[in-house]
């Protein structure tokens, strides 16, 4: 089952690491790009808090420095997810994924609410744990097939990738983004700053969608 997501339209060479676009990855890439542009140009919303059952409501204010920092993190997150979408190298993909994980933590860690911060810390622990299966999986890929290039893996001439390597990779990606088991990330999504928080959920979903394609190769 090679060429699962279609024939690469375009291949860009970075030494041993190729960047390539297929109909599948280009869809994901464009979406990451669109939302990164949103993050660039839009201002955060002013979130209204309501005490349910009462008439009291307050608007949360975001300070300028916090907004700037989170915007920076969200842009970095968008770039990382774009990279993860188009890269044609397993290890490179894991690095971009790790970067998505750390930027996700960064986007919410700047929020002052202790509740959100505690959630960010717990999620950061998971993201850090996830680097183990992530890099471990990539290493087993290399050891068992002698290649890290997705294009070579898709050709089907290399030895089959062990199940463990694929499972590690998927587990690592799930840990970095929690996608699609977002229930654990719900506290983080309640943080104000819509464009940035959306980047959190978008990037983790994108890397999850990409890893599905990756594990089907080889």
């Amino acid at each position: 089952m090679s060429n699962l997501a279609g024939i690469p339209y375009y291949v860009l060479e970075f030494g041993d690491e190729l960047v390539y676009f297929t109909p599948y990855t280009i869809t994901l890439f464009l979406l990451a790009l669109t939302f990164t542009i949103f993050v660039l140009v839009s201002r955060p919303e002013r979130q209204v808090d309501i005490a349910f059952g009462g008439d009291a409501y307050t608007t949360k204010e975001i300070t300028i420095s916090e907004m700037r920092f989170r915007r920076f993190m969200a842009i970095a997150c968008g770039l990382a997810s774009m990279g993860a979408m188009v890269t044609g190298d397993i290890f490179n993909f894991t690095l971009f994924t790790a970067m998505v994980g750390i930027t996700n933590v960064g986007i919410v860690a700047a929020v002052k609410s202790p509740h959100v911060q505690n959630a960010a810390f717990q999620y950061g622990l998971v993201a850090l744990t996830a680097t183990v299966p992530l890099f471990g999986g990539a290493a087993v890929y290399a050891a068992a097939t002698g290649s890290l290039s997705m294009i070579e893996l898709a050709k089907g001439t290399l030895p089959a990738v062990p199940f463990v390597a694929k499972a590690f990779l998927v587990l690592g990606v799930i840990g970095e983004g929690m996608a699609p088991f977002y229930a654990a990330k719900a506290e983080m999504f309640r943080a104000p700053g819509a464009p940035y928080v959306i980047m959190c959920s978008l990037s983790s979903l994108l890397i999850f969608l990409r890893v599905i394609e990756v594990v089907m190769l080889g």
Binding site: G15, A80, G106, A119, A142, L148, L158
Partner: protein
């Protein structure tokens, strides 16, 4: 009801670390059961060490300043591969000439095989890696400064 109990456990974010660690442990145990994994001998960047070279362990064949042979995935994409490997700083050259082994740690001088891989053939990895470092430092210093 079992569903309610599961969802109560899931909705507390304090529990995600044990949950994820448990999943990792589970997959690792499956990995142990699925051993052995066949090591593929035809590897990229194979390790061959010339113990007699004064550049040991960084000698990867060929004299300094000549293009060494690097078995990369796509050699045609990096025509300068092998030049970085054999490059020595004057200081390193001096050490190599005067001491029996240039016993340095990894990448103590430009010109090691690692530089070759990190800068040249797999440069994108190396760009992403300091970027992660950069992001992590940015988070730490932002929080640090906000706190003080």
């Amino acid at each position: 009801m079992i569903i309610r109990r599961i969802s109560h456990y899931l909705c507390n974010y304090e529990n995600i670390v044990p949950l994820f660690a448990g999943a990792c442990a589970f997959i690792v145990l499956i990995g142990i059961l699925l051993l052995p994994i066949q090591y593929h001998n035809d590897q990229l960047y194979p390790k061959t060490i010339d113990r007699n070279s004064t550049l040991d362990p960084y000698d990867r064949g060929g004299p300094p300043f000549a293009q060494a042979t690097i078995r990369a995935q796509y050699p045609e994409n990096s025509p300068s591969a092998g030049l970085v490997t054999s490059y020595l700083t004057p200081f390193s050259q001096f050490l190599a000439d005067t001491t029996p082994h240039l016993g340095t740690t990894i990448v103590a001088h430009p010109g090691g095989i690692l530089d070759e891989i990190l800068y040249n053939t797999r440069g994108l990895d190396t760009v992403v890696e300091p970027t992660i470092l950069f992001i992590a430092f940015a988070i730490a210093s932002y929080l640090y400064r906000k706190g003080s």
